[in-house]
Structure formats: C-alpha cells, structure tokens
Amino acid sequence: MIGFPLFPEVASTIASGVDLLYFFLVAITVLFSVLIFALIFYFAVKYRRSPDRKAQQSEGGLGLEITWTAVPFVITLVIFTWGSSLYIANSRVPDRALAINVVGRQWMWKIQHPNGRSEINELHVPVRQPVKLTMASQDVIHSFYIPAFRLKQDVLPGRYVTMWFEPTRPGEYHLFCAEYCGTYHSGMIGRVVVMEPEDFQKWLGGVTEESPVQTGEKLFTNFNCVNCHATGALQRCPQLGGLYGTEVRLEDNSTVKFDEAYIRESIINPNAKIVKGYPAVMPTYRGQVSEEQILDLIAYIRSLTPVKEQTGSATKSTEGR
C-alpha cells in the first residue's frame, strides 16, 4: 500500500481557487447537515412519546417558510456567482500560451508538441508556462482529466475543444480519461510531467523529428491541396497565407473566424461555409485524412505568410504540374 491521501495535490494556478470554493461548500454542507441532524436528534429526544404529554398541533408559520426559502436562495446566489465567475476567469487563455495538440482514441492519448516531438500517454510541460491544448477524438468521446490541476474537458470526435493550464510545481501527476470510452477505459491513463524550463527544453530537443509544419507541407502537396490553394494557381480557391486568425466573409455575407475549427470543417465538409466569391468545388477529405494529419495541415496553414511575399516559390511549384 502506498500512502493514504485524503486531498489531491495542488499543481496549477487555478487549483487553489477551486479548492477555496470547495472548502466554502464543505463549510455550508457541514453547517446545514449539523443543523438538521442536531435539530432532528434534539426534537426526537426532547419530544419523545410519553403518556403525560400530547403533541402540540401547529399549522406552520409564514415567517419561518419565508426565512427558510430566502436564506438558501441567498446562499445559492453567492455560490452561483462565485462558481461562475471563477469558471469564466479560469477559462480565459493567456496570450503567451504554448500550443500543444492532443488526439484521443481508444485507448490512448497522443500528444504532439509544436516542434514535432510527439508522445503517447505522457505530457511533458514546462513549469510556470501557460499551455493551451487543442484536442480532438478519433473515435468516441474521451475526457482529458488532470486532478492535480482541477481540470477536465471532454474530447469529442468531429470538433476541436481547447483547455489551458499553467503548472505551478514540477512533478508527475495523474492523467486520466474521465469519460467512459469502452473496454480499456481505465487503461487510458498516463502522466503529466511538469519540468523546469531548461529541463523541458533539453527534453524537447532530445529527438529530431519532422515538425508538424514540415509534415503538413508534404501533406498539402500529397493531398493535392496545393493545386488549387497555391498562389498563382487557377484562382478558384482562396489563398491561405495570412488568413489564420482573421475573419473571412462568407457567401451569405456573414463572417467566420479562420481558426482550427474552421480549417478542420473545411477539410471534412468543404461546402458548409464557402468563402464569398469562390465556387463550391472542393471535394471532401472525410475518411482520407486522420485527425493527426489535419492538425499537421493546420500547423502548415498557420505558418503560411500573406500571399505577396511568397509568390515566387509557390508559382514555381504549380507550374511544375
């Protein structure tokens, strides 16, 4: 038997805020439980049945009813306000967050760092550095759960979800799948390794793998995306350089943010949101491209700079065909 903890480790910037609210709730629970238990016990003993006393009837009292409706109402309002504002504050992602991709599948977590280093069921991150995870599932719903960070997010097939954290203490922490996902659900576990920044850099540089941008560039060619989307091509399709993070105008004059979710949707279901002024000619890549490949393609598209600066090389590559 190894230890007998009664409280989880505290290892992220948001954890102690959540714990404080938790302790407040524990206090409310204890207060009301003790109140109810004590009253029941006291009344049951004091007014126990005896031959020389009979029950004293009462209809109730409006004052009491109002009191014990209003007091819980006010208390729940306090908890609601506290809980919701903490939640909103906790979900605001800092700008300088390190972007890491996560793909869940039965029954493992695949994690990919921006420089191409990937790992399975382990997530190495530097301490005191905000990290933003962009996550998708290849099959069923999973849930990425790190108890020491007090964080959990369901990971869905067919769309991206994000979550962020900033670890505060180096160490190793549990990583669980919290949404039941089939036979080896309880085996879909791993660890989060929080390291000092210099150790993390060493770890990160330890292996030379192709970066997602490089992989994405190859995929961009192999899937023939380049035929239409490269600069100087037939101009049937929008040029992708510099679009990431901007708002693009659609056929119905509404706008959509050109982000991970939009790029992913446009690969899987190209006709869902057509950019204004272009024909709906793109075929779907549903079933041909894996979640990891989509993430690589996104990394590549993000890396593209606005059209003018790269005219030369892109033109060359299309002319070759």
């Binding site: 038997m1 007998f4 903890p5 009664l6 989880p8 609210l21 938790y22 109810i36 238990f37 029941i40 009344f43 049951a44 007014y47 126990r48 049945r49 006393r53 009979k54 029950a55 004293q56 009837q57 009462s58 209809e59 109730g60 009292g61 009491l64 009813e65 409706t69 819980p72 729940t76 908890i79 609601f80 809980g83 919701s84 939640y87 909103i88 906790n90 979900s91 099959d139 069923v140 719903i141 759960y145 108890p147 007090r150 959990k152 997010q153 369901d154 869905l156 097939p157 769309r159 979800v161 669980f176 949404e179 039941y180 996902c181 089939g182 036979t183 659900h185 309880s186 085996g187 279901n269």
Partner: protein, 538 residues
C-alpha cells in the same frame, strides 16, 4: 382465531386470478414481486463491482465483464427498480385508498402497465444473459451507436418498452387524482403522498417519451447507419446528451419525489402532528417537477457545451435545490413539540432526511461550475447520486413498505428486527458511500476497472460498507416474508394514523370501502385523533 372475512387476498385463488386481476392492490403486489427480483439482481451486480474494486488491479473479472457489470447494475436499478419502485408498488396500492376511491381510473391499463413492465424486463434480462451490454446506463454516443460490441439494441428495446409502463401509470395517477376523489376530498385535503405522486406522474407522462425516442434514434443509427449522433455520418454526439438528460434528470425526481411523499406520511404519523406548512410541502413537489425539466445541462458542463448555457443551467440547478430544502425544514419543524416514537418506519424516515440532506447539499458542489469541472465523472458524483437514490429513495421505500405492511398483509412485522435492520442499512450505507466523496475529490474517475494504488484504502472501506448494507437489505426480505405466516394480526389501524387507507380493514376488501367515505377534515388531523383518545380515557 379470526372470524373469516373476505378481502383482496383471499377473495379468489390461483395464478389466473392474479394474472388477470384488475384490482390495484393485487397489481401493486405483482409489481412488488417483480421489482424485488430486479432489486436483488441489480444488487448482485453491485456486490461484484465492489469485490472487484477491493484491489487496485483488475483481477477478479476482466475489463469487459466489469464494464457490463456496472452498466447492468445501472440499467436495472434505474429503469427496473427505482423508477417503478414507490409509484408502482406503494402508489398503486395507496393512491385510490388515500383519496377514497375503489380503484384507479383505468384498472385494465394498470394491469397492462405491469405486463409491459414485465415484457420490457424480460427483454433486458435476455440481453443480460445473452452477453450483456457495456455502454454504461447513460448510452453515450457515438460509443453506444457505433463502437460498442454488446447487446445495445436489445437493452434499449427493453427500456423503450418499459417506458410505456411508466407512461400508463402516470396517466392513471393523473386522471385518478383529478376525477376519483371522494366527496369532500379537496386538493388541499389530499395526503402529501398523493401530491408528490401526482407531480411524479406529470414527469412520467411528459418525460418518458423523450427517452423512448432517444433510444430509438440510437438503435436507428446502430442498425441502419443513419447519421444522427456520429459525426462521421454528419451527426452530433452532444445532441444525444441533451436528449438523454432532458429525460434522465427529471427521472431523478421521478425516483425521489414519491420518497418525499412517503416521508411526509411517516413523519406526521410518528410525531402525531399535522405536517408543518402543508401547502409549502405540497407546492414544493410541483416546483421540483417543473424546475426539474430545466436543469439537464448541468450534466454537460465539461462536454463542450457553451459556457453561457452552462451558467444558465448552473443557476437553475441551484433554484431546484430550494424547494427540496423547504421540504427538509418543514419535516424537521413537524417534529417540534410532537410526540415522537421510534418505530422502524420513523427510523427510516429520519434516515431519509439525514441522507437526503447530505445528498442534496453535495449536489450544490456539482451545480457550481468551477468545482464540477474537477469532480464531474468522478466518484464524487457516484457518491452524490447514491445518497439521493439509495440513501433517499430506497430508505423511503423501505420505510413505506414497513409502515403500510400491516395494511398490505394484515400482519405486523417484528419491530425489533425492523429497527435493527434500519440501523444496519444506515451504518452500511454511510460506510459504503461516504469514502467515495473523498475518492472523487482526489480525482478517481468513475467506471474504472483498475485504479492507482493510493485509492485502495478508501475503496476497501467502501466495499466493507457494502457488505453491511447487503445484510441490511436481506433482513427485511426475510422477516417480512416470515411475518406473512407468523406475524401478529395487525388490526385495521395499528399506528392509529389518520388517512382514509387506515379506515378500512386490513387487508382491505377488494372494493376498498364498504361505502364511499365523505371527507370533512384536513389531512393529518392528529389533533382530533389525540382529543378523541383523551375522551375515551376519561
């Protein structure tokens, strides 16, 4: 010893007379036998789950088997025990008698309800014994609709069928309460059990069709590959969760509201007092039924639902806590200056109030979004809903069975054993489920076949508690059956309780009342009862 008197049990004999009966009391007993069977079957699965969790390694059964065990435990306990328990047994038996009617409005539909329940149950049992199902009782898509390799469709069909039993019972209760009340039995003279059964019936009728349709859609996607929930087919997996919880959260109130009704009857009888704040207790049932339909999204705070939707659901979830709190305060106030006795039904009622209070207050943690992000899908949730459903509903159910047993069987149960069993259940329950709150905050996810070693001590405590709890549940089954043959004759009104059901012989005649009663008093008129007694003494 007794003079022969014809009543609902001895008016006719033979299997046929039971299987074709239209008497609500006999149908209640048919339900009692069926749900008891399912309760012990579901309990047997729970025993295996707890034994597996005794050690951190998955060593007793394989992962696949473990997943089937918790799924079938959930499916059977929720759909085949908790939902029909109090309404179909106690509600069926008591509702007509409490309002002075000779039966429910539609006796044939009532019998049909039992047959539908039985057919649905057999379907589900068939699925269980031909290999089982491993999706969890929540059937989350796309796992259930595409990926699971177990008997999803057969189980879903079983639940689908049983749903109609619920709808028919609900319909019967609503019409009966509106149309069959005895002269003078106005809405505000109704016993609170009738109010809570009425509120429950509304949820049954409005909510159950939604789960039926949802499971049908899962079956359609699974069998024909029509895209509804699987994103690869153009579906939306979260749509399933919305539809599922739109029924399944109100279903929690189907399970607990009737229990609250039972407790109102018990607390008043054993403190010899009219309930404190009758109309507040009555309307809080209705408020729970209405608000219960608006809080389903609190099961989806981390699902990817919009944070603003999450906040609205969080707020409404806090609001539904208030009528529950009002009930608890009113029951407690009813004891004040009462004349409290500690008969077994009262021990169960006090157990209910204590455990329901704990269950309700821990619900606040789950309604608080920032905290729910951490405890969602952990053992904290498991502990919370067992406090409500087992600590609450099962305690109330057992309390009610003991309280009305003399009326049902005509015999008294052995009081000493019954008090002992109530105590065993209370202790066993707390030892089983309290450690799970701590496990949950530590981060142990639910539905885990194997778990990290540091969680073992708390799991061992929980398993130890479960063994005590099992004894507590087997005891009443033994001595209640024993009492049918050997128990003392109960008499018409052994508790000296108010309520029309006690003004008829035990066991009641088939037609309940020799003449339709005329009601000229309020519910729980214990003041008048006590004065009556005093006059007799003088």
């Amino acid at each position: 010893m007794d003079i022969y008197r014809e009543h609902y049990l001895n008016c006719s004999y033979g299997v046929r007379s039971w299987l074709l009966t239209k008497d609500h009391k006999r149908i209640a007993l048919l339900f009692l036998m069926s749900i008891t069977l399912f309760f012990f079957l579901g309990g047997a699965f729970a025993v295996l789950i707890r034994l597996e969790l005794l050690t951190p390694q998955g060593d007793l059964v394989q992962a696949e088997t473990y997943n089937k065990l918790f799924t079938m435990h959930g499916v059977i306990m929720v759909f085949f025990f908790l939902i029909p328990s109090i309404p179909s047994v106690l509600g069926n038996f008591l509702l007509p008698m409490m309002i002075g009617a000779r039966d429910l409005a539609f006796p044939r539909l009532n019998l049909l309800s039992w047959y539908i329940y039985t057919i649905g149950g057999l379907f589900t049992l068939g699925a269980v014994f031909s290999g089982g199902v491993d999706t969890g009782w929540t059937f989350y898509t796309p796992y259930s609709s595409v990926y699971a390799n177990s008997h999803v469709i057969a189980t879903a069909v079983g639940i689908f069928i049983t749903g109609f039993s619920s709808i028919l019972t609900g319909l019967n209760f609503i019409v009966t309460t509106h149309k069959m009340r005895a002269p003078g039995m106005t809405w505000f003279r109704l016993p609170l059990f009738v109010w809570s059964s009425y509120a429950t019936a509304i949820i049954m009728v409005l909510g159950t069709p939604v789960i039926a349709i949802t499971l049908l859609l899962v079956g359609v996607e699974r069998a024909f590959g029509i895209g509804i929930f699987d994103p690869r087919l153009g579906g939306d997996p979260l749509l399933f969760q919305h539809l599922f919880w739109f029924y399944s959260h109100p279903a929690v109130y189907i399970m607990v509201l009737p229990g609250m009704g039972v407790v109102s009857e018990l607390v008043t009888c054993f403190s010899r007092k009219r309930v404190f704040g009758y109309s507040f207790v009555a309307f809080s049932s209705v408020a729970i039924a209405v608000l219960g339909f608006l809080v389903w999204g609190h099961h989806m705070f981390v699902s990817g639902q919009s944070p603003y939707a999450g906040m609205i659901f969080s707020f409404l979830s806090f609001m539904v806590a208030i009528p529950s709190a009002v009930k608890v305060f009113n029951w407690t106030a009813t004891l004040y200056k009462g004349s409290v006795s500690y008969d077994a039904p009262m021990l169960y009622a006090m157990g209910f109030i204590g455990l329901f209070t704990t269950g309700g207050l821990t619900g606040l943690f789950l309604a608080t979004i920032a905290v729910d992000v951490h405890v969602h899908d952990t053992y904290f949730v498991v502990a919370h809903f067992h406090y409500i459903m087992v600590g609450g509903t099962v305690m109330a159910y057992l309390g009610g069975i003991h309280y009305w047993w003399p009326k049902i069987s005509g015999k008294l149960y052995p009081e000493g054993w019954a008090r002992f069993a109530a105590l065993v259940v209370f202790v066993g329950f707390n030892l089983t489920f309290f450690p799970q709150f701590i496990l949950g905050y530590l981060g142990m996810p639910r539905r885990y076949h194997a778990y990290p070693a540091e969680f073992q001590v708390l799991n061992v405590m929980s398993t130890a508690g479960a063994s005590i709890l099992a004894v507590g549940y087997v005891l009443p089954m033994v001595y209640l059956i024993w009492s049918i043959r050997y128990g003392k004759t109960a008499g018409d009104n052994p508790w000296d309780a108010t309520g029309l059901e006690w003004q008829t012989p035990s066991p009641p005649p088939t037609e309940n009342f020799a003449a339709t009663p005329v009601v000229g008093w309020d519910a729980y008129d214990y003041g008048a009862k006590e004065e009556e007694k005093e006059l007799q003494v003088v």
